[in-house]
Symmetry: C2
Subunit: 305 residues, 2 copies
């Protein structure tokens, strides 16, 4: 039985007091202290060690991606409330003086900006799909990325960040191979996180689709068992936090980017992602604010000799 | 004498052909292949090894920071053309359907968004200054960050990115301590980069201040020798690329954030930053597209046994 107490404000205060996070004055965008970041990097290294034999190709993308891509995958239809659009000033010298005057007068000045070609990446796997276009090699492909993800949902909950990192694995290939890979990783993820002393469980889940139409899409997603999450109590016992998620997209991305199996049939994609800040917070909640006091079993895995 | 040939288009093509970078369809926001990223991480680790005894505190910030901070430090006065402002949809169900319809009709839809509380971080050191507020400990402070930096200047030059990483060191303390630290790191940076076989030189420099007024500010910055850069030919012999820069801000940030020395006098700040993608590209240009062929002296430093 879980006898710990949960208190969002107290948790955030303790994280600050122990130098684990550094307030910046914006909700969901705190700085990470040296110990917090070390835990995060060590967990990421552990995931990579466990998956070392999988032969994933590692790609790295910046935290922005093409606006045209966001449009193409339907993100503005489904999650407009979470998107981050990047706008810049493209005016003249005279307009720049006007902009500057507005800033100093405390007036709003954003209407003097224009949209750029980029938006903030809303899922670390998005930039990967276009690289799969065409006929896949036999057996499909596997890519891994570590990327910054933006979601506009400012919150005081330390686990709900506007900008955070995901370690993702993205699999593309025959439908049955992709589903088998997803199932195997769901078990692997549970074993990994349980092995780190986290009280985790998996469950069917749905994405935060916007509005009334979104409710139906979410229900459909649950019915089809397209999304699973690994949950762990971090800020609440009743509403555990998703620290790892598994998405089977069927042919959503492969149809949009012309991805075909080696036999020229419809390819499927699936991805899984560890929310690195959330895993870090789950470990801190489970084992305490001072890593020196963590169980040897956990320390030995994160800081191997 | 430098007998190499420089050809921007040819360089970009070769980088793609060797899997070092992955095109994404947007200028200045390509993906980094596994070898490119390994070189970058190894160089960053080398910098940290060299500076290990300096006692810098490592902080990590997300790629966004408070809009109020951008306004406060005068960024919109000086570099409005480079800024990236983050806008989101905050409307109703009905407005979301209208937005979606515009996207599908190929119409512009960004006027349905509102500015958020955040902008993209335009310099990795910015989020650090507010953490220095108040009276400093004796001897001042030293912080290091690895951060993503956004500059809206789309370009086909592989060295001119919209989003890139800087490894920065930020020093705050008495004016004479800060200048001495800057001078010592300028020599240290040159020694490090020369030791990696890069044909570098340092020079006084200026920031890309916007417009006519900006020309005067840049001239003033050069006169006062506030900015230095370490330059290396990467895409042109005549216009070498800045791969490391040193900025002495005098009391620009300390006056804005109320930073005082332990004796309650005016504190100064200075920072230095390695442009990690640019150093990586300089190494590739200097030693070739296949790291296996790089000189042993360089390999042994980046990949120590």
């Amino acid at each position: 039985m879980d006898t710990r107490t949960y208190d969002i404000e107290g948790f955030a205060e303790q994280l600050v007091e122990h130098g684990l996070i550094v307030p910046t004055g914006i909700k969901g965008a705190y700085g990470r202290g040296p110990v917090f970041e070390d835990i995060l990097q060590r967990f990421d290294a552990l995931v990579k060690r466990i998956a070392a034999d999988d032969g994933a190709q590692e790609l790295t993308f910046p935290p922005v991606l093409a606006r045209a891509m966001i449009e193409k995958v339907g993100y503005m239809d489904n999650f407009p409330q979470l998107a981050g659009s990047v706008h810049s000033f493209m005016g003249t010298d005279k307009q720049a003086r006007e902009l500057s005057a507005k800033v100093h007068a405390g007036e709003r000045w954003e209407d003097m900006l224009s949209p750029t070609d980029v938006m903030l990446t809303p899922a670390a796997c998005y930039p990967v799909y276009p690289t799969f276009s065409g006929l896949l090699p036999q057996g499909g492909r596997l890519v891994t990325v570590l990327g910054w993800v933006f979601r506009h949902e400012p919150s005081d909950e330390p686990t709900r960040l506007q900008h955070f990192r995901m370690r993702e694995y993205i699999r593309v290939g025959k439908p049955e191979d992709v589903v088998a890979w997803r199932d195997a990783w769901l078990q692997r993820g549970l074993t990994l996180l349980e092995g780190l002393g986290l009280p985790v469980q998996s469950d069917v889940a749905s994405d935060p689709f916007f509005g009334r139409a979104g409710k139906m899409m979410a229900a459909n997603q649950v019915d089809q068992r397209l999304k699973f999450e690994i949950l762990c109590p971090v800020i609440s016992r009743e509403k555990p936090t998703a620290i790892c998620s598994f998405n089977w997209h069927q042919d959503h991305f492969s149809s949009k980017f012309g991805i075909r199996t080696s036999e020229d049939a419809v390819a499927h994609t699936a991805c899984l992602g560890f929310g690195l800040e959330r895993v870090t917070l789950a470990l801190i909640k489970a084992h305490g604010y001072d890593v020196a006091d963590w169980p040897a079993k956990v320390r030995d895995q994160l800081w191997p000799r």
